[in-house]
């Protein structure tokens, strides 16, 4: 019997070693291109035994040629980093928004955490049919918002001219941004990010998985079939209903909406249904003229931080319940930008004294899920933070205005904020979005003064960034 077990173990060990070589990247590229390169009506070709040893046959060679040509086109700047095997939450869950630029007083968060109430989402009275999509991506397509659910699968909401107007266009990639296909978009108008006036327009896009996604800001639209159809939602109990932020993580979607008066409200639902739970917690908008809210999720944990010139309040998701939260930098007289590497390690970059005596950008970190924060490392070598991402506990990527160039600069730290390196200077642009899908793969959207936008991707943890072509 012992001999039997020895033989089994020896066979297993030998097989493991003989199969130690992983699948080559080119095979993954070729297979991911099959849906776009192979019409399904073509009869199945049999693998002929007489096919040349090193060849894939004519049909597959054609596919390979397409893929290789595309790969060569992109290879210019892409460092072909290894794809993460277990992608975490969507890129959107780590991103932060642009800080508000105008001065004001600060207020604190209401300490009460009333019990939530269950409400249902009512689809709009006459559900609006989705636009019929064409496979063709318009030549003037401008990326506005990006979301990935894995290293391979992602979507971009963009704009394109349609007659005298500009219409929303959504494109999807199944191969990590190498190729894109147009899918249907909601029958909505494009709005600008941060608009808190109630309406049905959209400015942002998030997906939780291959099927469930939302276009929002300030309107709210949902798809549960991968973007084939979209329907407009209104959330009862959220007067005003201007969706300011939306993220999805761990099977749930969280929405922060402005009530049109004095508070932000938070609603949540399972991603695949519309059974929303409206938290009774209210986050005051503060006394400033430009309320701006950030929503960051990591697994079951979440944080809402509100700036209105300065940090004014926040909320924290603990064990499925939103609770009052004292965010970092409430007393520094400047705004904060939040990111989370995991449920415990939370990073905030605070513009200390922006509305008093400016003292620069300082890094604060929490290792207990945001309960307490401590300043870490030296002052950052940039100013005017646009966005922060923390793909790992040691890596922090910041988009901000450079110290001397007066242009946006992306800097990265590999040691938790002790030292910083400049990794990208995209020029005189604004950063619309920065986020990471995995520890190595991230996205960045910039907008120049002429409103031309550009999506960049990194596959090496932010060391190098490459423009994405559609």
């Amino acid at each position: 019997m012992a001999d039997e077990r020895d033989l089994d173990a020896e066979i297993r060990a030998t097989l493991e070693a003989m199969a130690a070589r992983p699948a080559p990247d080119r095979l993954l590229d070729q297979v991911s291109a099959i849906p776009t390169a192979e019409p399904t009506s073509v009869p199945l070709r049999r693998s002929g035994p007489s096919r040349p040893r090193l060849g894939f046959g004519l049909a597959t060679a054609a596919i390979a040629a397409i893929v290789i040509a595309g790969a060569l086109y992109f290879r210019g700047g892409i460092q072909n980093g290894a794809a993460a095997t277990t992608p975490p939450a969507s890129a959107s869950s780590i991103a932060a928004e642009t800080a508000s630029p105008t001065p004001a007083l600060s207020t604190s968060l209401s300490p009460a955490t009333p019990a939530p109430s269950v409400v249902a989402v009512a689809p709009s009275p006459s559900p609006t049919p989705s636009l019929t999509s064409s496979d063709v991506i318009p030549a003037n397509f401008q990326p506005l918002s990006v979301t990935f659910v894995s290293a391979d699968m992602g979507w971009v909401l963009g704009s394109a001219g349609c007659g005298a107007d500009t219409c929303p266009v959504i494109v999807r990639t199944l191969d990590g941004g190498r190729t894109w296909t147009r899918i249907a978009a909601p029958d909505a108008s494009l709005d600008y990010p941060g608009n808190l006036q109630a309406g049905s327009g959209i400015s942002e896009l998030r997906f939780a998985d291959p099927l469930d996604g939302w276009a929002f800001g300030p309107g709210l639209w949902a798809t549960h079939d991968g973007g084939l159809t979209w329907k407009q939602l209104t959330i009862p109990g959220l007067p005003g209903g201007a969706v300011a932020a939306l993220e999805a993580s761990a099977g749930g979607v969280q929405v922060v909406a402005y009530d049109g008066n004095t508070t932000f409200r938070i609603a949540s639902s399972p991603v695949s249904s519309e059974a929303w739970l409206l938290s009774a917690l209210k986050v005051p908008v503060g006394a400033g003229p430009v309320p701006e809210v950030q929503l960051v999720l990591q697994g079951q944990a979440g944080w809402v931080l509100e700036n209105n010139r300065v940090v004014t309040g926040g909320a924290r998701l603990v064990n499925g319940t939103w609770q009052a939260w004292q965010p970092p930098c409430l007393d520094v007289l400047g705004p904060a930008t939040l990111a989370a590497a995991n449920a415990q390690v939370v990073t905030a970059v605070c513009d200390v004294g922006q509305w008093a005596t400016p003292q620069g950008e300082h890094l604060y970190r929490s290792t207990n899920g945001g309960q307490t924060f401590a300043e870490t490392g030296p002052k950052l070598p940039v100013e005017g933070i646009s966005a922060v991402a923390a793909p790992t506990t040691s890596t922090i990527v910041v988009a901000a205005t450079g110290p001397s160039t007066n242009a946006v600069e992306v800097i990265a730290s590999r040691d938790g904020g002790l030292t910083w390196t400049s990794v990208l200077i995209p020029g005189p642009v604004q950063v619309r979005y920065l986020g990471f899908t995995t520890a190595t793969q991230g996205v960045l959207i910039t907008s120049d003064p002429g409103s031309r936008t550009q999506l960049f991707m990194t596959r090496d943890g932010g060391h190098t960034w490459t423009p994405v072509q559609f």
Binding site: L7, M18, R21, T181, D209
Partner: protein
């Protein structure tokens, strides 16, 4: 909600859209991990990385064209596994009369897949003998050995993948192990005799 329940729910819903959005569903299932498993299996069966790459690509292409036949997404792994087994068999038939040996240039003598045979510190003789014995098995015997000992499938699961009866699988496994044991014993005796 338990992870398993979420997976099942997602699979059911994936099935619902599969008819209308095959590309999304295909990419969801035939992901990097599935292809990597398939490639490693093909490497073991065919003994050649280039052949393994071709066979895996063949299997993925067949899966794409037959995706409409997959009615139960929870059965994807078994369904794709059977396609892969057949793709490898087609490749083997194409070289039916070839004899692959460790001296054959087609069987690389470098690379991590031969680490066991190349590292003297790991007992090169015994490991090389095992690798050679595996390669010398009849294709249908190697198939069941790899499915059993590399993919850890049960007899019933192997029967499903190979299209053979469970009794046939047991029989093939029995003879394959006897063959391996015999070859190794013979090798040991030779070593002992030469020593």
């Amino acid at each position: 909600m338990a992870v398993k329940e979420i997976e099942i729910r997602q699979l059911r819903r994936a099935s619902a859209v599969m008819e209308t959005d095959r590309a999304t569903a295909f990419a969801h299932f035939v992901d990097g991990a599935a292809l990597d498993r398939a490639y490693r299996y093909a490497t073991l069966i065919l003994g050649d990385p280039t052949e393994a790459e071709d066979a895996t690509h063949d299997a993925a292409l067949r899966a794409w064209h037959r995706f409409g036949e997959l009615r139960d997404p929870s059965r994807f792994e078994a369904w794709f596994g059977r396609i892969l087994v057949n793709a490898c068999r087609d490749r083997q038939r194409g070289r039916r009369h070839e004899t692959l040996s460790l001296d054959d240039p087609a069987f690389p003598t470098e690379g991590p897949w031969l680490r066991v045979a190349a590292d003297p510190a790991e007992g090169v003789g015994r490991r090389q003998a095992m690798a050679a014995a595996l390669r010398a098995l009849r294709p249908e015997h190697l198939e069941v050995v790899v499915l059993r000992f590399y993919l850890d499938l049960t007899i019933d699961q192997i029967a499903e993948r190979t299209g053979a009866r469970a009794g046939t699988v047991k029989s093939r496994l029995h003879y394959a192990l006897r063959e391996l044991r015999g070859t190794l014993d013979e090798d040991s005796q030779k070593e002992f005799g030469n020593g």
